[in-house]
C-alpha cells in the first residue's frame, strides 16, 4: 500500500510555493515518513522554521507550527523546548537562514546540546530573494550578487555543527530520497541537539546561473559528488578529492540541556 502522506498534511494549504525541480518537497516527504516511523504525536510536536523557501515547510504540516523571523528558528525553538521539554521540537530551514543571519543561534543550540533536531536544506543560495550567494555558495559560483564569481569560501555545515558541539550530525541529499527519513529518524531518537544537512538543489536561482542544463543534471551532481561515509573508509585520499561525505558523520553522548536544567531546579530547592 502506498504511504499515506495526506494524514500529516494540511491539504487546504497546498499547493506549496516551491518551484518545479526544487528538492524541498523531497525533504518534506522524508520528514513525514520519519515522523510516521517515530510515531510522533501531532499535538505534542512543534515544527519551527525561519524565513526562506525551505522555511515555508511547517505551514503545510498538521502539527504545532511556528514560522519565525529570519534566522531565529533555533532561538524560538529553544524557548518552546525549555518551557515544555516533553514536546518534540523539529526545526527546518535553509542554509542562508541557518548559517548566516541565524548562525549565532545555530552554534549555541549545538553548544547547549538541547534535545531538538534541525534539518537544514542546503541549496547553496538565497532562493526566495532571487539567488544571492549564501555562506554555503561554493567559491567561484555565480549568484545575483556574485556576477564575477563568488570570492567567499563556503561553510561546511556538518563541521560547523560538530565544532559547535552538536552531538549528532548527519548529511544526506535530495537525490538519495530514501535515506532522508532514516537519517531524520536516527537524529530525532538521539538525545541532544541533532543536525541533518540535506544537500538540495535550486534550479531556478542557482542552476540557471551555474550552467546546469536541467534539474536532472543538478540531481545527478548530488549523486556524483557524494560518497557514503562507510564507502569512504575504503577509499584513498585521491579518490576522495572533492567528494562530500553522507550518512551519520558524528555521534556522541553528552549531557542534554533540559535534563541539566532539571538538575538546576532540583538544586535550587535546597537553596535558602
Amino acid at each position: 500500500m502506498a504511504f499515506d502522506y495526506d494524514k500529516y498534511l494540511r491539504p487546504n494549504k497546498l499547493p506549496h510555493i516551491w518551484c518545479p525541480g526544487c528538492g524541498h518537497g523531497i525533504v518534506m516527504k522524508g520528514l513525514i515518513r520519519a515522523i510516521d516511523t517515530l510515531g510522533l504525536e501531532k499535538n505534542n510536536t512543534a515544527i519551527v522554521s525561519g524565513i526562506g523557501c525551505a522555511s515555508r515547510l511547517p505551514g503545510y504540516l498538521d502539527f504545532c507550527t511556528l514560522h519565525t523571523a529570519h534566522g531565529r528558528a533555533a532561538a524560538f525553538a529553544t524557548g518552546i523546548k525549555m518551557a515544555k521539554p516533553e514536546m518534540n521540537v523539529i526545526l527546518v530551514g535553509g542554509d542562508g537562514d541557518g548559517t548566516a543571519i541565524g548562525g549565532n543561534h545555530f552554534i549555541h543550540a549545538c553548544r547547549r546540546n538541547i534535545n531538538m533536531t534541525y534539518i537544514i536544506m542546503n541549496n547553496n543560495i538565497y532562493g526566495m530573494t532571487g539567488g544571492q550567494f549564501s555562506p554555503c555558495t561554493p567559491t567561484g559560483a555565480k549568484a545575483s550578487t556574485t556576477t564575477y564569481g563568488n570570492p567567499d569560501p563556503a561553510f561546511d555545515i556538518a563541521k560547523l555543527a560538530i565544532g559547535a558541539g552538536a552531538t549528532f550530525v548527519a548529511r544526506g541529499t535530495a537525490y538519495h530520497a530514501n535515506q532522508i527519513d532514516k537519517l531524520i529518524v536516527e537524529a530525532v531518537q538521539h538525545k541532544g541537539f541533532s543536525v541533518v544537512e540535506i544537500l538540495d538543489d535550486c534550479p531556478t536561482t542557482y542552476g540557471r546561473r551555474n550552467k546546469f542544463k536541467s534539474v536532472i543534471e543538478m540531481m545527478n551532481r548530488l549523486k556524483e559528488v557524494t560518497v557514503p561515509i562507510k564507502a569512504a573508509e575504503k577509499m584513498s585520499p585521491e579518490q576522495l578529492q572533492g567528494k562530500i561525505l553522507t550518512g551519520v558523520l558524528f555521534k556522541e553522548e553528552r549531557p542534554e540541556y533540559t535534563a541539566e536544567y532539571a538538575k538546576v531546579i532540583e538544586r535550587s530547592k535546597g537553596a535558602k
Binding site: N43, P58, D62, H67, R72, A75, G79, N104, K269
Partner: protein, 377 residues
C-alpha cells in the same frame, strides 16, 4: 498578619513583581543597568519549577520568550538601550503574532553604547516607534521601587489581556535605587491570565474575530494545533496577501489598544485643582518635580504636576483637558524633548510648553525645575 516589608532595589522589585504576576519563564542577555532582573529570576524561577535561560544574544532572548509564551507560559525579558534596539525585530514579531510578553527596558544614555551606567529617559519613543510597521504599543514608566513592582504586575496583566508585548521602562535611577517596599499579599493585586479557547480544537482559529479584537490564544502542546507566522495572516493564522484581510487585521491590532485607552492609561494628578503652571513628568524626574512643586507652593506659586505613569498610549485626553485650563506646561526629561513633543501635540498651541532637557547622565534636580516655574509663572 503584618505585611512583608523590605528595603529593595528597583530591578529586584521588578523581578519580584514578575513572580507575583505568575511569570514562569525568563530569557535574557546581560546588559547594564538591567542585569539584576535576570540575576534574581535565575535564582527564583527554578525554585517554582520555572525556567531561566541566558541566551546567546538579545535577539535570541526575545525569540526564546515568544517561543515559551506560545506554550502558555507568562514570560519576561529585561534589557537596556542597545539591547532594546536589537530586540525590536522580534518585538514586531510579538506584535503581529499577538503573543503576550513583557519587556523591562532600563533606560540608560544613548544612542548606541552611550552611557551604560548613567540614567536617561530617551528610549520612550523607541517603545512606540522602534519596530517597523504599524502596531499598538503599551509602555509603563514607574517612579518608585514600590511602583516598579506593581507596574510589572500590571504589565503582565495588560500583555495577557491584550495579547501583545508590553514594555516597562524605568530609568536607571528607579531601577538601581533602593527604598522601602511593602509586598502585596497574594490575591491583593489583580492577576490576569490570557483567555483560553472555548471551542474544540477542530474549530479553533488563533485570530478568530468572532471573539472580539483580542481572540483567545491556545497553547502549543495543549491539544490545539495551529500555525503562527510573522507574515500578515488571516484569522486561521496562515499567511494572506488579500488586501481586505490584511487591512482589517492591521487595524484590529492597533484598535485593541486604541479602543481601550481608559483601561490602560494611568497617571497621577498632584496639586492640579488650581494649578496654573503644570509640570508634566515621569520616572525619577517626577520626584524632582514633586519637590519643586512643593517649594513653589511655599512661595505662593500655583504649581502642580501631571505625572505620566503610562507613556504609551499617551494620556492625550488628560493633557488636552489641562491645556484648556492652565497657563503653561513645563516638561523636564532626561532626553532632548521626547515627552515635550507629545505634550506640545496635545496642547495644540493653546499654552506654552517649556522643556528642561538633560542628556549628560545627571538627573534633573528640583532647583532646575523650580527656576523654570518661577520663569514662566
Amino acid at each position: 498578619m503584618a505585611k512583608k516589608v523590605a528595603f529593595m532595589q528597583g530591578n529586584e522589585a521588578a523581578a519580584q513583581g514578575a513572580l507575583y504576576a505568575g511569570c514562569t519563564f525568563f530569557g535574557g542577555y546581560p546588559i547594564t543597568p538591567s542585569t539584576e532582573v535576570a540575576e534574581v529570576m535565575s535564582i527564583e524561577l527554578p525554585k517554582i519549577n520555572g525556567k531561566f535561560i541566558q541566551m546567546e544574544d538579545e535577539i535570541g532572548a526575545m525569540a526564546s520568550i515568544i517561543g515559551a509564551s506560545l506554550t502558555g507560559a507568562k514570560v519576561l525579558t529585561s534589557t537596556s538601550g542597545p539591547g532594546l534596539s536589537l530586540k525590536q525585530e522580534l518585538i514586531g514579531y510579538a506584535c503581529i503574532a499577538e503573543t503576550p510578553c513583557v519587556i523591562i527596558n532600563v533606560m540608560r544614555g544613548g544612542p548606541s553604547t552611550g552611557m551604560p551606567t548613567g540614567p536617561s529617559q530617551s528610549d520612550v519613543m523607541c517603545a512606540k516607534w522602534g519596530t517597523h510597521g504599524d502596531h499598538a504599543a503599551i509602555c509603563l514608566v514607574p517612579a518608585s521601587v514600590q511602583e516598579l513592582f506593581e507596574e510589572t504586575v500590571r504589565a503582565f496583566n495588560l500583555a495577557e489581556k491584550y495579547r501583545m508585548p508590553v514594555m516597562i521602562m524605568p530609568d536607571e535611577i528607579i531601577a538601581h535605587m533602593r527604598e522601602r517596599i511593602v509586598f502585596p499579599e497574594p490575591g491583593e493585586l489583580e492577576v490576569i491570565n490570557r483567555t483560553a479557547p472555548s471551542v474544540p480544537p477542530e474549530q479553533y482559529k488563533p485570530y478568530d474575530t468572532k471573539f472580539g479584537d483580542v481572540p483567545p490564544l491556545a497553547a502549543f502542546g495543549s491539544g490545539y494545533r495551529f500555525h503562527v507566522t510573522g507574515l500578515n495572516k488571516a484569522e486561521d493564522g496562515f499567511p494572506t496577501t488579500k488586501a481586505a484581510l490584511v487591512q482589517a487585521e492591521e487595524e484590529r491590532q492597533v484598535r485593541k489598544v486604541d479602543a481601550n485607552i481608559d483601561d490602560i492609561v494611568t497617571f497621577e494628578e498632584y496639586m492640579l485643582a488650581d494649578a496654573e503652571v503644570v509640570i508634566v513628568a515621569f520616572g525619577s524626574t517626577s520626584r524632582s518635580a514633586r519637590f519643586a512643586v512643593n517649594e513653589a507652593r511655599k512661595a505662593g506659586i500655583k504649581a502642580g504636576m501631571f505625572r505620566i505613569k503610562t507613556f504609551w498610549p499617551f494620556p492625550d485626553k488628560q493633557i488636552k483637558a489641562l491645556a484648556g485650563k492652565v497657563k503653561a506646561f513645563i516638561t523636564p526629561e532626561m532626553n532632548l524633548g521626547m515627552c515635550t513633543g507629545e505634550v506640545k501635540r496635545c496642547a495644540e498651541g493653546k499654552v506654552p510648553v517649556v522643556g528642561i532637557f538633560r542628556v549628560d547622565g545627571e538627573p534633573i534636580n528640583p532647583g532646575q525645575i523650580l527656576d523654570k516655574i518661577k520663569e514662566v509663572k
